[in-house]
Symmetry: D2
Subunit: 80 residues, 4 copies
């Protein structure tokens, strides 16, 4: 079973990497870019029994290690 | 229009951040983790005319700025 | 002239990457590690007239782009 | 004892994050920037007996976890 975790800075926390990429795209003459956000994607290969237990386990991983929940949000997708 | 770009180290290139997370999960007693890969997710908000031109533009962005194609692969998803 | 900028999460902001590395080192049996912090180091090659103007310029770069001063601290070193 | 580890992409490996920051600085009208490189700085607090054993231990950490030595170089500084 595969779990895909996306971790992004919360809305309202300045994303300086996204800002750098945005300015860089401007300077390279890419028009029509309104916003850029840069986050982390973590792909886990798991031997969980079922989707529910995989999701519960990965939620715990996010809370205890993968995300800093004060400044970051995370989203989990289980792909069987 | 939104473009989601996932950038990951190519298979065969050691992913030291993924390895660190994997060992950390082991040490925190998360069992059943077979593999961990850590990549970058870039979310772009674009004012492109249509999906095809958005994809073409983002491909160019990846080739010229967002990915290091010698060591990284990228995948683009357009969400309208 | 070279400027070295170190950007780190402020004390009190959980450093999840540092935590992952710390746990990973534990799991690899490296003893005697009390703390791990992971930050960014940015090395700039500049054609500034003198050290003072280089420092002023880089400070402005940090404030406007390189660091997110709400959650991160930065330190600048000018190497001539 | 404190160990400071700087990890950078090897010369010749395209540094896409450095390139993004460089273009962003251009677009923000910072002149006189010739080159930008972005790396990782890892600060370890260690209870090693002496500087030599600290250095040996951190070298092993770099080789086994902190750096991907195929594409990255690392430098270690021990601060007592």
């Amino acid at each position: 079973m595969k779990a895909i975790v996306n971790v992004f800075l919360k809305q309202g926390v300045l994303d300086s990497q996204g800002k750098a990429v945005h300015h860089a795209l401007d300077s390279l003459k890419f028009d029509g870019v309104n916003d850029v956000r840069v986050g982390k994607q973590i792909i886990l290969d798991l031997s969980a029994a079922d989707e529910a237990s995989a999701k519960a386990e990965v939620t715990e991983m996010c809370e205890s290690l993968l995300a800093n929940t004060v400044i970051e949000d995370y989203a989990i997708e289980i792909v069987s």
